[in-house]
Symmetry: C2
Amino acid sequence: MVTATGNLQYFLDPRSVAIIGASTNPSNPGGRVLKYFKRSFGGAVYPVNARNSVVQDLPAFPSILEVPESPDLVIVAVPAEHAVGAVRDCARRGVKAVTVFTAGFAEASEEGRRQQDELARIARESGMRITGPNSLGYINVSAGVYGTFTTAAEHTPPGGPIAIVAQSGGFGSMLFSVGLQIGLGVGFLCSTGNECDVNVPELIEHMVERRDVHVILAFSEGIRDPEALLRAAVKARELGKAIVYCKAGRSEVGARAALSHSAAVVGSDEVVDAVFEQYGILRANGMDDLLDWARVLSCSSPPRGNRVALVTASGGGGVLVADTAAELGLEMPAFAGEERARISAILPEFGSAANPVDLTAQVQSNPDLFGEVLRTVAESASVDILTIFLGALDPIADELIERIDHVRNQVDKPIVTMWGGGSKRYKTALNERGVPTYDDHVRALRAVSALVRAHTGNKRTAEVEVVVDKQRQSTAASLLGEADGRVLREDAGKQLLALYGLPVTRHEPVGSVDEAAVAASRIGYPVAIKVLSADLAHLSDVGGLRLALQDEAALRRAFVEMLEEVARRAPRARVERVLVESMAEPGIELICGMKRDSSFGPMVTVGLGGVMVEILGEVQLRRAPLTHEEALEALRALCSGRLTKSSRGLDPLAQQQVADLLVRLGQLAVEQPDVTEVDCNPVIVGRRPTVVDALVVKDA
Amino acid sequence: MVTATGNLQYFLDPRSVAIIGASTNPSNPGGRVLKYFKRSFGGAVYPVNARNSVVQDLPAFPSILEVPESPDLVIVAVPAEHAVGAVRDCARRGVKAVTVFTAGFAEASEEGRRQQDELARIARESGMRITGPNSLGYINVSAGVYGTFTTAAEHTPPGGPIAIVAQSGGFGSMLFSVGLQIGLGVGFLCSTGNECDVNVPELIEHMVERRDVHVILAFSEGIRDPEALLRAAVKARELGKAIVYCKAGRSEVGARAALSHSAAVVGSDEVVDAVFEQYGILRANGMDDLLDWARVLSCSSPPRGNRVALVTASGGGGVLVADTAAELGLEMPAFAGEERARISAILPEFGSAANPVDLTAQVQSNPDLFGEVLRTVAESASVDILTIFLGALDPIADELIERIDHVRNQVDKPIVTMWGGGSKRYKTALNERGVPTYDDHVRALRAVSALVRAHTGNKRTAEVEVVVDKQRQSTAASLLGEADGRVLREDAGKQLLALYGLPVTRHEPVGSVDEAAVAASRIGYPVAIKVLSADLAHLSDVGGLRLALQDEAALRRAFVEMLEEVARRAPRARVERVLVESMAEPGIELICGMKRDSSFGPMVTVGLGGVMVEILGEVQLRRAPLTHEEALEALRALCSGRLTKSSRGLDPLAQQQVADLLVRLGQLAVEQPDVTEVDCNPVIVGRRPTVVDALVVKDA
């Protein structure tokens, strides 16, 4: 299988394999991996062992250079002091791919870091791909490739379309073995370890391209190749595949642990959340999420929307499911009119035909009724996903399973069941029929939510194209060039924003009270004035700001008073000029801005602004360039939607205009790579948004 | 066992039992419950059956009136049309307690509702306790009492200190059977059904009082007897017991489902959250939470604090645990100095001695090292709880378990393990040794967090006492009496608040501009003026407000302009007076208030105020009367702690003063039951809080 992701197929589909450090003892890594290859692999296997000519009944070679052919894949399982030499020999021998099991590199010491850099250099110069060091290796079940030393591979599983790609071998192999225990179709395991060359995002991209993979479960601390991850996400969306990513290192303590143990680069977590959201990557908190979601993603057809129906044998269970669905943003439309009448007609006396549809305990005595209700509800045009809450119903379990299976065959919609009280064999039976079954209703609904998010909503199926306006780009660049220091003076910052079409206040810098009066008459009263000084960060703290001046008399008085107050309270600050500005109409104060993330590049931010901004901490981010729709979504995500839905919030026209402003900030970020930061706070939004204060920072 | 909770012991510890509707067919409810009693119960059992003189080999009686003794407990399992008559006979016969299995009452129809009211009346008048109708009954494992028809009781479990109290029989028996499947020590199951008499809170209180119960798992939709629940919570805290409560009906859809299926009264969910928090009741989302938390609560000694140490065999696992711990507010202190050196000295070459303590995969070859690290970490004075992350380590599982058990015996601190990759038998072995073991790290840490919350923090171990100030009470009452309508005019509202010591603005109502000038000179400039009118809700919408008037000239001009504008914009509003007020110094705008919840009574609220209050939706509630410490906690919970911790937030003195204000609002709520609502918005908090606007609503 040839893919766009350079030569990674040799790790998963090699035709021939050599093991440097192949051991006669199958409980050592180098012995275990040989045992696995002998057991399951169809191609040639060459043990390399300096001391023995036969290892586990196979002829062994003293060096990779003496192996009769150039193997596609080589496993290196020798002590750290010999590993780099062995890899160098592989490159000389023309090997395609090397997996280094050996630990004791960058995670252990400075000397190890240097050795690892040497491995990276070999990969770069030879084109040979290297996984590890400190890697647990790869498994491709259907190809019989077990290039790993995890004991999780002692049993050969049935395989399937789920691929696990993990930086941490320990976590990856735990996922693999638990996945098999619970009957998931896991077909692949890859552990990248210290990532001197091959990294998790690149492998995700490879997995998305493979026809035999449908769901990718990823785990890492840092994200080494963000561009590859975003390419993979866009392709996955296009192909209807799903990426579930458990990205660790959220917290400060987590990051501390990450840094100390594998030198991973941990980015700002809010950025990761935002980018995953924007690109449709599902973020998992841990093992349960990864495996629960893989279950439903690997066996359900994509739902058309987020409307969930519940048929329940327990009224209490019904209420719980409704609560959790609401919390997760899943709709539970109430059945009405004719539909409701139709369900009512089938239901037992005490049941409820709303949604949840409550069958009461009478379901126990009437499985046919159960089947009929299921079918009617599943066929409803207002239902995208059918969920079923079953309690302790083992006595009629076989009959219930048969009815559920029947509906699944008749109606092409995902069906998910919650069956905390059921025996394991019944739940297994449902899972095997493609009806994901969970004990806990919260886990079931989190999985349903993942399924919905994987397939619906406005996620990227292609990267956003940017048309660069060369003329504007160069005008803006010269404006930036003129500025001394990294922070643009406010008038220059606003000029830059105005070039990109942002609605800034009308403003004129002036040098005297008379100039101020002339400027104000041009701008129109009421006006505000503020001192321009590179020495002052917070103008209001020193009285360097006067608002709502209604006429020339007020302006003149305020001008003099302001300069006096600043001179008194900040005697050392040099006041360069005074800025005369139009007043914004009253409205809601937002903060809009841009910052550059070390992993994902320019991020546009929008949040609640004003002086409370740090306390509120209510901000959304989106990667630039962003679409108008993405900008609107960011706005709608603020304050749990209340900023756009509340009657005291932004009206629809204002929302459109703020979204437009954010798109323009994104355009600026892309066209002006020297601008490192933009902070418009407040942007006052009445009928329309106005940028009142602006801070623009450029590269040193 | 005699307890304060009236006669509930007869449901769980009866000496004799009769079953009305005892059936020869053990798959009917009335047959199944007889089968269970025959199997497990030591006391007398009397079947009542109109048609048969022998039922399941026991002599049967045609009516409860003919049973030779008055049984402690009677089970009613006859059709709805006979149920009320049977219960009436029980009362006549002097029965202590009746459980009604029969369904078809309030949950089914209006006629059913009337029948249920009749049952309630019988209970009230006779003093006989009635559980149900629509109840699944009771189980007390150690007493051999299986007064239930759930098939979950087919097997007799070993019992233990965990009690399940559920309104929904379906959910309760699911919990019971899953709890037994996973080896929890569940000793009790109670299902209250429609709660015509006995309800969930009352049973919780009974369970808290029982010496043989340590953890109570509760499930209900409404909360029928809030006072009993709060008494139970206070006692549980005092006795070191824990209540875990899954309260359904959070969402609108959930409430809709609740109303339609069991007519439960569903209260405002934020109030439930707040009261549970205040009284130390742990709120669970579903089955996993209930059972996971019961595991750790039933077998761990109370931790002294929230400081968690992690020993991990997987670096990746370590980072995940650190992330989740931070999210849940658990501390993971980094080891430093001598302690760190001591751990480092034991650790393998590549390990990390910070916290998480990373043993790397080398733990596989050295269980002794593992044990030594565990002991050193567990003994650390900066650790309250030891957690252990294990991956796929089955080959050395027995040795690991032995080391963990050894440390558990040596160190009196809770130990919790995460062992996703382990085989079931190993996990069971750990659980049986009192070391709770979870597959998923998120579930493990949620359980640890529950354990910490159950035993630490400033929760109520006694109700807050209120000293009523009779003089103030009557002064305030006459002030309330003078007001027309339900809404107090602002000056009267502020007078009331001032009586309770709340820091309101200085204010004087005036009838003319000259009076305003005199008042302002008494109050001191700058002042604000606002119109007083029962017809105007939002003054700023009609220009009925002028702020920051610096001198008499400005005051006089503003007075005239304001009245003109109001006359123009709200021509029909009657302006009664104008209020002249002092200006508050600038600061953070809060909203402080009080409302009465239909279940839990007076609730004091505090949140971010100002015009954005609905959009922000950032409010905390606490039940009144509240302590100063509880008020502070409410403040600290706002904006994830940023309001009190951020440098731009409230300083410590201001926090104390706001807390004092909230305590006083609570006092007002208790002394003035006629005040239904108070809304102070904004309370502007600079160096100290000032109530700027106040709305007081009294009973009709």
